[in-house]
């Protein structure tokens, strides 16, 4: 009998959970199924076609799995609504123009207080655009996107691992708050292949019971789920009810990551793939002695306003990098409340920022402002 020290035992247990080399789109789909998602309704659009393709195979092999390639992105979001009303963990995915088509459905999901997960692998826009990666749906995702006063939780992964983890978490958040959750990815994250540690399978029977679903009025009074409130006083109160929910979410679900911040003279602010690229640039700049840090919002709604404002105690200079024309930039400006200087560098239309480009832009600014 060999006695194994406890810390070594933990190491050995960690090795038992394998990492799988996976494409981002596959990782998010697999994580969704492991999170208890049994209802996927989608439609082909590049660069997320791997999601419906993976789901068609994976769900067909499960007795309780349902996959439908719908006739449009509009049909698929409404299938999600029906499935969610009936109590299922339901999901759809698309890319920018398809997400535009889903906006009425998303407004309804929020108004009807239904859980659902919507994945957007952003591409070059506006209009038909192209199939290259972009971050130009930030406004669409975080400002509601559809009609009315509502918000959806928006999570921005920056790796295949995060695509899996955040999609997995999205179903719990959606059920907990009875609200739609958007995973805001992009074409590059979806196509990348990285080692992923997949989360454990959820036992659907052990998920918390939903006491509001439409299942046939057996042994209880009948119920209805609707968002038509003709009396403006009722509609007003419903809006306040949603706002109170959003306040709770804002208190509990903000997330972000800070790197290299301790002695930073300049903070880069970026999300998703842009943050990943910026991190590489910052590591290089640090090697050359530039004191640059990074704050990466992970929840884009609720946005980490406080965490950014907190940084202004020690840092005056902020640089926002996005693959768009300046969208998260506005939230950063709001966060700073006039403290400090904020600048922007962006590439729209599907151009991917490079680490060299980012470090050149920062370096010239850094030396001009004599931050070193």
């Amino acid at each position: 009998m060999v006695s194994v020290p406890f810390h070594a035992l933990k190491l050995r247990l960690r090795c038992i959970v394998p990492k799988v080399l996976m494409r981002g789109n596959h990782a998010l789909a697999e994580a969704a199924v492991r999170s208890g998602c049994r209802y996927y309704f989608g439609y082909p659009i590049t660069p997320q076609n791997e999601v419906p393709e993976y789901m068609s195979e994976r769900l067909s092999k499960l007795e309780d799995g349902v996959f439908i390639q719908a006739e449009s992105e509009i049909a698929s979001i409404h299938m999600v609504i029906g499935a969610s009303m009936a109590g299922g963990r339901a999901m759809t995915s698309s890319s920018s123009p398809g997400i535009s088509l889903k906006q009425e459905g998303i407004s309804f999901l929020a108004a009807l207080e239904l859980p659902a997960v919507i994945v957007n692998m952003t591409r070059g826009s506006p209009g038909l655009g192209n199939i290259a990666p972009a971050q130009s749906d930030y406004f669409q995702a975080t400002r509601g996107g559809g009609h009315g006063d509502y918000r959806t939780i928006v999570l921005a992964p920056n790796s295949c691992q995060e695509l899996a983890d955040l999609t997995y978490k999205a179903f719990d958040l959606a059920d907990k708050y009875r609200t739609p959750v958007v995973i805001l990815g992009d074409g590059m994250l979806g196509q990348m292949m990285e080692p992923v540690e997949l989360p454990p399978e959820v036992q659907i029977k052990k998920l918390p019971h939903k006491d509001w679903t439409l299942t046939g009025a057996k042994g209880r009074p009948s119920r209805f789920i609707r968002s038509l409130l003709l009396d403006p006083f009722e509609e007003e109160e419903h809006n306040w009810k949603l706002m109170r929910k959003y306040e709770r979410i804002t208190k509990e679900e903000v997330s972000w990551e800070i790197s290299f911040a301790d002695d930073a003279r300049l903070m880069v602010v970026a999300f998703g793939i842009a943050a990943r690229i910026a991190k590489g640039a910052i590591k290089r700049m640090r090697d050359e002695g530039l004191k640059v840090g990074l704050i990466r919002p992970i929840s884009l709604w609720p946005f980490p306003y406080k965490a950014i404002k907190e940084l202004t105690k020690k840092v005056r200079h902020f640089f926002v990098f996005e693959m768009n024309m300046g969208q998260m930039l506005e939230d950063v400006k709001l966060a700073l409340e006039g403290n400090g200087e904020v600048h922007f560098y962006g590439r729209p239309g599907g151009i991917i920022l490079t680490p060299l480009e980012i470090s050149r832009v920062i370096s010239s600014y850094y030396y001009q402002k004599k931050l070193g």
Binding site: Y39, F41, V66, I68, A70, E71, S72, I74, A75, S76, H78, M79, V80, I81, G82, A83, S84, M85, A86, G87, G88, A90, E104, G105, F108, L112, L214, T215, G216, A217, K218, G219, S222, R223, F224, I225, R226, S227, L228
Partner: protein, 267 residues
Amino acid sequence: MGKGEGGGGQSRNQSMKKIFSRPKSLKKTPFHYCPGCGHSVLHRIIGEAIDEMNLQEKIIGIPPAGCAVLAYLYFDIDMGEASHGRGAALATGMKRVLPDRIVFTYQGDGDIAAIGTAETIHAAARGENFSTIFVNNGVYGMTGGQMAPTTILGQNTTTSPGGRKQERDGFPVNLSEMLAIAKGSAYIERTAVNSPANILKTKKAIAKAFRIQMEGYGFSLIEVLSPCPTNWKMEPVEACKWIDEVMAVHFPLGILKDLTGDKRDAH
């Protein structure tokens, strides 16, 4: 009624029998529908069918955007709101999650044959196992009487002044005939609620649709020609006649498809 009439208390009770009442699956809420509107009759016969088939605890309905948008205030069953035209997609999602419940959509002609055409045709094509009650009154009622896909040529509406003209407004749409072509459609029938005989046929058709859903045959649809006296600018009796004499010529009553070979309700 005085004590002296009918020969005293006992025989009075014996001569009174309750032969008609509100179906259990309809709430006591008074309807808001116009006098002479087909929705009132249709709601009642659906309620009766649900009662007679004991479906109140198993059935889920999806109302339309349209005059019947508030149907959940009238039916005492689970109901879920759809945005305009998307009932077939909601029903698809719902039925896939709960295949042993009865799911039905209740949709007007604009809801199903204009904005909802794609979702309806594809649900039929996939053979989704839910039932649709398609209320055809040839206009957009709730919004004040605009032209609908089933407005017939020459029919006057607020967006087809002088009557629907082929060159300006195109032809009307016969959606039920189109759906009958879909291989996944199991049962499609067109009826009306403009006369007692037609009302009874409509009720039988609806019961049959629910029954074949339970037996898993696939998509079923009952199109019901329904009067809209307010927007047709007719008296209710005139509206009922107009359905027989004009509307049913373009939208003929009868069974358009029946894969079940079910002769139980032959009429």
